[in-house]
């Protein structure tokens, strides 16, 4: 036996039944001859026994609900895997391809007709409807003649006095 050994270090493990048989026997021999060590062993044993008197803490019912709800939700990994599945990717790809094709068809149709110019002319006519009425009377055609028609009133006014 090592006389310099600090046997107090072994006491807790001894009380917990965690020492091997040989070390436990050596410690018991030391306890028999060392009253201070024996007193410490008694005090530690009492402390360990008192832990059973500690108030118990019971979890709330809300915890159970929260945890079970949480695991019912898919994790972010499950969501990503789900989004990348063939069942989702193929229909999504088909929809996207159809959208692109529709866009190209519509764009091709638009470029064949000067829709922008038409719209501008229609807007101009609407803003100058009174002039257009005069245009009909004079019998001219084309947007370039609008200014002439508009100034017919000035000519008439100039002649009157």
């Amino acid at each position: 036996m090592n006389p310099a050994r600090d046997w107090s270090e072994e006491l807790t493990a001894y009380i917990d039944g965690e020492l091997d048989a040989e070390t436990a026997q050596a410690l018991e021999a030391q306890l028999a001859v060392d009253p201070a060590l024996k007193a410490l062993e008694q005090q530690l044993r009492k402390t360990v026994a008192m832990m059973a008197l500690m108030p118990a803490l019971e979890p709330s019912a809300a915890l159970r609900r929260a945890v079970l709800n949480k695991v019912a939700e898919p994790s972010w990994r499950e969501r990503v895997v789900s989004l990348l599945s063939v069942n989702r990717l193929v229909p999504a790809g088909m929809v996207a391809a159809a959208g692109v094709a529709a866009f190209l068809v519509v764009r091709g149709h638009d470029s064949s007709a000067p829709g922008g110019v038409e719209n501008e002319e229609q807007l101009f006519v609407a803003q100058n409807m009174d002039v257009v009425e005069d245009l009909d009377l004079v019998g001219l055609d084309g947007a370039d003649d609008f200014e002439v028609v508009a100034r017919l009133h000035e000519l008439n006014e100039g002649k009157t006095p």
């Binding site: 807790t12 493990a13 917990d16 965690e18 402390t47 008192m50 500690m54 108030p55 915890l63 994790s75």
Partner: protein, 201 residues
């Protein structure tokens, strides 16, 4: 699901996504996990927040569970890592139970009457709890974890060593130092003194 399935069998079912098996495991071990977390954060509400994270993590990593490992050891390894990380990150600061509890918090275990005890026994239990709390406040995180698993969960040193990823020899030292600290605080309580000899009346 087998009626009397053990923890390992339940975990195998959980790994396949069986939520009933998970609920059964949760019911068996929620008390242990909440009590363990409570020793780190000091209030029931915060302990339950941590416990929730731990059980959700358990569900997510169930596929990595090896049936050769004891389930409780596996669970407490997750719990220990989570609690230590959270405490170190500073999201949870351990409440000191000597003062008043924060308003709006769930009352700590000290503020509720332990069921089935006489007023004298309840007082004794609360005083003891305070002494243990003070002692645990002075422990290192690993001492606190080892002490809790040993004294309140009845785990063997070998299981605690696996949970803490430490040697049995290290665990023996952790538990001894922690138990001595608690002993000193309990002695001081009985003598009406603080552990450093000052009166606590």
């Amino acid at each position: 699901m087998p009626v009397q399935a053990d923890d390992s069998q339940l975990m195998e079912l959980v790994a396949k996504g069986d939520r009933h098996a998970f609920a059964a495991l949760f019911d068996r071990h929620q008390g242990s996990v909440v009590r363990f977390c409570y020793r780190f954060v000091g209030t029931q509400a915060r302990a339950e927040e941590l416990a929730q994270d731990i059980f959700v993590k358990l569900f997510r990593v169930a596929k990595s569970y090896q049936p050769s490992a004891k389930f409780k050891t596996y669970l407490f390894r997750i719990a220990t890592n989570h609690c230590l990380n959270e405490v170190r990150r500073g999201d949870f600061k351990r409440e000191q139970l000597e003062g008043a509890t924060m308003s709006g918090e769930t009352p700590s275990v000290l503020e509720r009457e332990p069921g089935g005890l006489s007023p004298d026994q309840a007082l004794e239990g609360r005083e003891l709890e305070k002494a243990v709390e003070r002692a645990m406040g002075n422990m290192s995180e690993r001492e606190r974890a080892a002490f809790t698993m040993c004294r309140f969960e009845g785990m063997a040193y070998r299981e605690i060593a696996e949970s803490l990823e430490a040697s049995e020899s290290a665990v023996k030292s952790l538990i001894h130092r922690a138990t001595v600290q608690v002993m000193q605080h309990v002695e001081a309580l009985q003598a009406g003194l603080s552990p450093n000899g000052r009166s606590v009346a």
